[in-house]
Amino acid sequence: MITTLPPLLTGCVALLCAWVLVGLAGLLRPGSVRFAGRTLFTLGAVLGLGLAVLAGASLLSGGTERLILPLGLPNLPVHLRLDPLSSLFLFLLGASSFGISVFAGGYFRQGEGTLPGLLCLQYHLFLASMGGVLLANDAYGFLVAWEVMTLSSYFLVTTQHRIPEIRRAGFLYLLMAHVGALCLLLCFGVLQGGSWLFTFHAMRAAHLSPGWAAVAFLLALIGFGAKAGLVPLHVWLPDAHPAAPSPVSALMSGVMLKTAVYGMLRVGLDLLGRPLWWWGLAPLILGLLTIFYGVVFAAVQTDMKRLLAYSSIENMGLVFAGIGLTIVFAGSGMPAVAALALLATLYHCLNHSFMKSLLFLGTGSVLHATGERNLGRLGGLIHRMPWVAWLTLIGTLAIAGLPPLNGFVSEWLLLQSFLFAGQLPHAFVNLLIPMGMALVVLGAALAGYVMVKFYGIIFLGQPRETSLAHAHDCGRLERIGLLWLALGCLALGLFPLQVVHALGAVTGQLVGAAVPQASAHWWLLAPVPGRSVSYGPLVFLTATAAVVLLTVFVVRLIYRQRVRRGPAWDCGFGAATARMQDTAEGFGQPIRHLFQPFFEIERELPEPADRTPRYRIAIRERIWRLAYEPLARAVGRLANAAARIQQGRISVYLLYSFVTLLVLLAVALIS
């Protein structure tokens, strides 16, 4: 038992409790938006900031703190642990939740279905439980926090429970999450290795046979993969994330998915000790598959939040590919490279949480301003809501992986680590992985396509509906939230070296190797072991800025005439209307055309002689037809078979007992 309380960990726990209290406070005046909506959410945001600070401090110190609370099972009190890995993800949680909570403070209004006070409770329980997942140091505490997280998010998803689709989405989400949690449960059952101690350090100590270890790894992959939306367990994600109110979608995509990554790293690289290299292939291949699948489907979406959800799937694929790569390298005795891959993975987690939260919040503002989620009815909002538009642009460029923003850094790191695949001692694998690299690159490029579609159709062009004329820009709190996240994207993009330094402790903890830092300059990132490769976003940015400004200056200098505004030329075609712009479907058409086999498309084409031509197209995932519907049917058939047992005639029931009796007696006699 610890005599003196560890400062940072205690602080974190206190903050989590404070979150719960804030949530409960919401029940005091559940009806009032001003109190529950504004005040409490802002309070929660401040707590989040505090959490980020504490976690950051512990990350930089690189130390580990433990704490035991007298709760939980009789001989298994709740163990808590704050080590670099958990502090990194805690930081992520705190930092992005600050922006999201501030935004939420301005976002929630009356008539969102659930009462604001209840919403506040669920929201803060959600936050606190995520913190609990990251701090838990024993299987039981972990699972409890994990499921509370699922549950609270489920209630948040079904905020507008009157809409059947949303109910369906919530049900699907909870079902998949529960099955995943059961897998995790079994995984821990294997990990505890008969010691009946469910603490993580006991699991680290337990010695498993390779077979059992592999089983545990596989179960963990299924469990956490289901949460992270890994293909083919992703089906719940594109329904659930859009269904939730936008701040919640932001939390789910931005933070909750990362808890799955955390769990995967915790189990795969920490609890299982030294992983075998070929375990890595499973997450790698699944991850690559997921990247491609997610981005292709994102490209053909017409609902802006669905589009973002699929893009989240893609990014999770990227992360899991990174994890797989890490394990492959770590298992083949290349710790330095493994550290590089792990670095890319962690970095991308940070990036994605900021970028995706930013984008989801942006869509939230659009949704409130216009009441529209369908891209086909938006457009030209950059004039009506400049704040949202310009801040979202940063997120868009970042997630498209453009330098000098943050999305690029992690992709750069990942590609650098991919380039080492050739040195792997395993034939065939070092062939396979370059293919993987090709997929990653293709995914990144497609992400660019998706983002142009996303941004261009929502914010640029002419408004596709007259109602959009009344769209208003977002309020003050919302602006602060967006601004915070946008700044986060910039900072992560411009000061990678500092971030990498901070992450060093984590890589050291997980693969036992920090990333070498070749360059002496504070502005230059050169993490690749034994290679003279470097990337300096600051220089990059300043150079670009310098050139651009110089150009502007020169142009102004040599040419001083005014700019005239006129009607759009459009090749002299006068009667151009807003309806002649590309719709979302139109913009996605090339992708749809190219990757036909992926989709299950149903078209409704107008007749040649149609007075009022209508064109409708619905795209479903084949996986429903191929996997899930047959599964459901099979269970249904089994249920019918089982129902035959219960067919109402008492004689038959008596016969059951009779036969059972005789059989058992016979068995008893024989044995």
Binding site: W412, R531, V533, V548, R564
Partner: protein, 316 residues
């Protein structure tokens, strides 16, 4: 980094700025000759730019600030790219802050701004152009990246100067993987710079055009910047080709007067040859349908990946 390197750096950018229009002019001349036309003047692109700069700019009413910023950003990106690619010397201060991947990223950024600007006014042709451009882009970028990766696997670095220096140093023999990726690169180059058979820079038939469709709404100085940026892009791509496949004559050490004496003529010769080559390709091939482009670029991508596999297999 010595001041001399900074000089080289500036010199390179300046050279690119100056040479890009001329190179286009030269390309057009070659094409004209091959097609038995009277060749336009070598300096025609300059005249065009000059003319455009002195016109009055007209911008659509519903154009957002993004529309006006885009040309400068695109132009700036291209100039910076020119500064990263070792066309004459490899000791470039800027290079340490941006390797080949960053270079591709830079091109991508330029493309992104261009397409967004094209969608900004919200005309049918603008969005059409943007869509097609992205369709080209999402296949061309990976292909280009894979091409670069082949070279960087050979020289175990993604920094262009290192690659060039390593390849130029001569102890890399003729390697099949490079051959594969060279083919891929040429296909990418054609697609990325809106050359026949992917796009026809000379056309004004709206339905077939890609690049032109995007800049339809631009006029005067904005258009000039866009055009110039396009020329720079072509120039940059050609220089990348040199850096990867024909790194001869590039000064790998500190670039003194002597180095210049070698580098400049070498570059000029290579450019001339490249222009001729491109002209030949463009003359013998016909413009393809838009929906064929993915196949075209898919081939390029495939070649690049093949190059990679060949390298891993043969370690060559």
């Amino acid at each position: 980094m010595k001041p001399v390197d900074w000089i080289t750096q500036v010199l390179e950018m300046a050279a690119a700025l100056a040479a890009a229009p001329v190179f286009l002019g030269w390309l057009n001349q070659c094409r004209a000759w091959l097609q038995n036309r009277r060749a336009p003047s070598l300096w025609l692109p300059y005249r065009n730019l000059h003319k455009l700069f002195h016109k009055e700019a007209v911008i659509a009413e519903n154009a957002s600030p993004l529309f006006r910023i885009a040309p400068y950003v695109v132009f700036g990106a291209m100039v910076l790219a020119a500064g990263i690619i070792p066309s004459m010397g490899t000791r470039l201060p800027l290079v340490v802050s941006a390797d080949a991947i960053a270079l591709v990223g830079l091109f991508a950024a330029a493309r992104m701004f261009m397409t967004l600007a094209a969608m900004d006014v919200g005309t049918a042709f603008g969005t059409l152009g943007a869509r097609r451009e992205m369709m080209v882009g999402f296949l061309a970028e990976p292909a280009l990246l894979m091409v670069i990766f082949v070279a960087s696997l050979i020289s175990s670095s993604t920094a262009l100067p290192v690659i060039t220096a390593h390849l130029a140093s001569g102890h890399v023999g003729l390697s099949p993987s490079l051959a594969f990726s060279a083919v891929a690169f040429i296909l990418v180059l054609l697609a990325e710079n809106a050359r026949i058979p992917v796009d026809n820079p000379a056309t004004h038939l709206e339905l077939t055009m890609i690049h032109e469709a995007m800049v339809l709404e631009y006029s005067a100085r904005h258009l000039a910047l866009m055009e110039w940026a396009a020329q720079l892009k072509l120039f940059n791509y050609v220089c990348i080709g040199f850096a990867l496949f024909f790194p001869w004559g590039v000064a790998t050490g500190h670039i003194g007067p002597a180095g210049l004496l070698v580098a400049i003529p070498a570059l000029a010769v290579k450019l001339a040859a490249a222009g001729l080559g491109l002209a030949v390709i463009e003359t013998v091939s016909a413009k393809m349908r838009v929906m064929r482009i993915p196949e075209f670029l898919g081939t390029a991508f495939l070649f690049a990946v093949l190059g990679l596999l060949v390298h891993v297999l043969l370690k060559a």
